[in-house]
Symmetry: C2
């Protein structure tokens, strides 16, 4: 079957596009997004009347970046579709750390911004069934529960993925048949990123076992999406019988004890999320399950600032009242030091490879503390208040007072371990802030 | 921590062994099963008093098979544990087809036989967390739903897997430290089997991304097992409100329409299983869901001999009454022929590479038909009645009359496409019996 017809089926199946929609198509210049653009363009003329726009984000990561930007602009001209672009030197901003995740976040931010500007109600991306297979294998490797195993969705908020049921191979055949030019994203061939390792080394081996791997995983994820939806509905039913305020979530024992252990943990996790903006790990959830099921009352420490409490009739998650006495402020006195704080063990290393702290600053005094107000960060373009930085980074209000920060005697923030730890753990180098049990989930995603 | 202590934790966590148990330990001679045996032996003396026996199945597949058998007997002698062995030349029996699956089935048959003989209530196998990771990746590749993604269980019927939470690496370190000898299973290094491809080519790549891959997948499967258990309980609740007889399963529309689409399909699938011994594929299940949800009544063909029927108040799965008029008997008149039967399209090829039918037999007459009674099969050691063959092969009674068979004019059965098709489809060669929508599930497993 013609690829356009197949894409139309996908569009219909998942209700991706309706007549009159304004669709912003994200085009990198690679085969997937170029094919998507051409197909959407045809569809807009022949089947579903939509207004089509192109967005291209220039990460300035590679030599070819500018050429790719020009290439996308040319396609836009030739198809008579307006092109929006933005350039951002991510290497400069990130210092090369965790760059793929940050590039992704910046790209989506850009797409939403343009969509708002042109009043687009849909943002189309070129993700294929081959990308889905990669994502699922990656998430299985990293561990992510049912949500990870079902991969990304064909539709989520404004984002739509019309190539969801199409393989990379089918995309490439389509382009070849019609002699449509595209750019090869050379970063795809780099072994630097886990995703590329899965694409280049793992998937070809698995396709020896099952040549229709992508279609098979597509079917698997459909089942998982439906199972996940069912589980969510069940949790919602139980959650509707809980009492959730901003600083306390409470559920009656008679309700929570009556549900299946799986739903018990899922429900408690959602309750925790509602007041903390984070999820608990499985070990903590099991401990809570144990507390709920045993005969006695009791308390359990959750993440910093949150407690689980079981009394005679109910289980509740409570935000600890933040009071000055709970605040921590510890002076670091040597270049390398292991510091115990109420939130966990903190390893301070002034000479780590990422962030060297000059001796004179240490001498003047470096503190590990909770924020007290008046802290600031130095950026190349000027100072920024810590509060403003927290807002920009979408750090939940409830967490801001609990995050340990490292400041100089002048109240300059030089490190916020919770916000950056992921990178450091991943790279397995000297770490200046670790051992905290939690991070801010999805901060880098 | 000492490996024995860790295994004891696993044993306790999943209630694998209790004092006084009689445990038959399956020992191939490879590292996993040898380590398991030594650990169980220590445990039996120091922590949990059990009676321990060894079983070894000699597949006679490799040159080293006899040496492995002797090796296991020697270990048994040295530890003073009785060893039960059996030899079966599987190459001869199977002709080399699908040999890994058949070897597995024969091995389990043998284990259950010995367990019964010595009144063992547990059969311990050496499956590790590394095997679990392999299984999960294999099942994801082949497509298998939540049940496949959660892999094998730490405990199932008599089978227990005390190394469920132990990696291959940990096993090898244990053996090395104690200088315990073992045999290397060379078939593990062969690329012939998909499983080995995953073990040798895929897992090492994934471990570059996550060095604790096995532990991560172990955690993932724990979540999936619990989710699966919850789903099963929900389905059971709905099923308890259905009316299930041997030839008909019926459920009220008001009940089945009220449940989540995921549970609807799972419930219908269980209803179908209860009267047919088989499961439906997802496409069929979706068609049933559609039928149930639309306004009109209607019928839907399921697998051969089964119908779905929706009337005003209920949905039912019915076994079609088998009557002589429904029987098929079609004479094949040429060497290659495409024959339409009520069960599907049948491609007959007398000169296929697996099974050549001499011209004179074709001339005398070859029939594709349902059994009428009196059919027989010729084996090297003599004739066997078709009925007896069906019983041995565990073909469900309900299916026996529906299976198309190919017989000569003398009523000699020369082919039963449904029973053997898997092999042929897999090898992608000329196929003499295909196009039937279903097989007998798990026949080869």
């Amino acid at each position: 079957m013609d690829l356009k017809k197949r894409v139309l089926q996908t569009i219909k199946k998942f209700s991706l596009i309706s007549p009159g929609d304004t669709v912003l198509c994200a085009v990198s210049g690679g085969p997937d997004s170029v094919a998507l653009l051409f197909i959407l363009n045809e569809i807009s003329k022949e089947e579903i009347p939509i207004s089509l726009y192109i967005a291209h984000f220039n990460h300035m990561l590679r030599e070819e970046s500018d050429e790719e930007e020009n290439f996308v602009k040319e396609i836009g001209n030739s198809l008579n579709i307006p092109v929006f672009t933005e350039r951002k030197n991510l290497k400069e901003i990130t210092g090369g750390k965790n760059i793929e995740a940050i590039a992704r976040r910046e790209r989506y931010k850009f797409l939403y911004k343009i969509a708002q500007k042109i009043e687009a109600n849909k943002i189309a991306t070129g993700h294929t069934a081959s990308d889905l297979a990669e994502t699922v294998i990656f998430n299985l490797t990293k561990g992510s529960g049912i949500k990870g195993l079902r991969g990304f969705l064909p539709k989520r908020e404004k984002i739509i993925r019309p190539l969801f049921e199409t393989t990379k191979e089918e995309v490439e055949n389509y382009l070849k048949e019609r002699k449509i030019p595209y750019r090869i994203d050379f970063s795809n061939f780099s072994m630097k990123f886990s995703r590329n390792l899965i694409r280049i080394k793992v998937i070809p081996e698995l396709k020896k076992i099952n040549p229709s791997l992508e279609k098979t995983i597509l079917r698997e994820t459909a089942t998982l999406r439906e199972a996940e939806d069912f589980i969510k509905e069940e949790v919602k039913k139980i959650l509707s019988r809980a009492n959730i305020r901003s600083d306390k979530a409470e559920i009656s024992l008679s309700i929570i004890k009556a549900v299946h252990p799986f739903i018990l943990k899922e429900t408690i996790n959602e309750m925790f999320f509602k007041i903390s903006g984070e999820y608990l790990n499985r070990t903590k959830l099991k401990a809570i399950e144990h507390l709920i099921k045993k005969d006695e009352s009791g308390e359990i420490d959750l993440k910093k600032g949150f407690k689980g409490r079981k009394d005679q009739n109910s289980f509740s998650i409570e935000k600890e009242q933040f009071s000055p006495e709970n605040k921590v402020k510890i002076k670091v006195t040597s270049e390398t030091e292991k510091i115990e704080t109420p939130s966990g063990t903190f390893i301070f290393n002034a000479k780590n490879p990422h962030f060297e702290i000059p001796e004179e600053i240490i001498k003047k005094g470096v503190f590990i503390k909770n924020r007290e107000g008046g802290e600031w960060l130095q950026f190349p373009y000027g100072r920024k208040k810590l509060k403003k930085f927290f807002i920009e980074k979408k750090v939940p209000v409830k967490l801001r007072d609990f995050l340990p920060i490292v400041v100089t005697a002048d109240n300059e923030v030089i490190w916020i371990p919770e916000l950056f730890k992921k990178t450091y753990i991943k790279e397995n180098q000297n770490i200046i802030g670790v051992r905290f049990e939690s991070g801010i989930k999805n901060f880098d995603n």
